[in-house]
Amino acid sequence: MIHLAFFARIAEICGTSERTIALDPAANIAMVWDTLEQEFPALQAMRPSTRAAVNGSLVSFEHRLAADDEVAFLPPVGGG
């Protein structure tokens, strides 16, 4: 299994802040995102500006996933 965490507008689009999904052994982050886009088409517009983190570290969408990874999808920041 891998654990997905959604924030801000992405969480609103997905209707939840977290989800657990089965791990495809070949899966990278782009594949997970593509699956989410099919379910939530409004995510398509977010793709260019979204960054991903695995277990708290920023990674590229090509990053390969391992069991029990926590994948966070992060929109452009707005703190301060």
Binding site: A8, A53, G56, L74, P75, V77, G78, G79, G80
Partner: protein, 138 residues
């Protein structure tokens, strides 16, 4: 003191966290929720959300940078999450140093880095009941 809280910010506590006997100056920055008005609607509150562990890790990185770049300056930084009304602080940064220049420069550096890199998001709530997420300028 590097923290994210859903409580109103205690500015004097943030300031007190950086004071010691080597300190000759403290620069204090408060980021305040502003009533932005685009002519048809006005901001009444901001709602903040954070990836807590990533945001704190970024605060720690900024604190190390400030210490190294600005002659051992000491920093405290607290950001609020949840709904923050116009006029209230959403973030407080205090930087103490032996001399004022390092305190001012360190404080400016820290808030700029926070706005650019910390995993925190804000949603603007408007007077007409509408709301939208708002990213910082890159």
């Amino acid at each position: 003191m590097l923290a994210i809280t859903d409580e109103p910010l205690d500015i004097l506590a943030v300031r007190a966290a950086v004071l010691d006997k080597t300190c000759g100056g403290v620069a204090l920055f408060e980021g305040i929720v502003r009533a932005d008005d685009d002519g048809t609607r006005c901001v009444v509150a901001l709602e903040y959300e954070a990836h807590h562990s990533m945001a704190i890790a970024e605060f720690e990185r900024i604190a190390r940078d400030v210490h190294v770049r600005f002659s051992g300056a000491r920093i405290a930084m607290v950001h609020r999450i949840g709904r923050v009304r116009v006029g209230e602080p959403a973030v407080v940064v205090a930087v103490a140093a032996a001399h004022r220049e390092q305190a001012f420069l360190g404080c400016r550096y820290a808030i700029d880095e926070l706005k650019m890199h910390a995993q925190i998001w804000k949603k603007e709530h408007f007077s007409d009941g509408s709301a939208d997420w708002r990213a910082n300028d890159a």
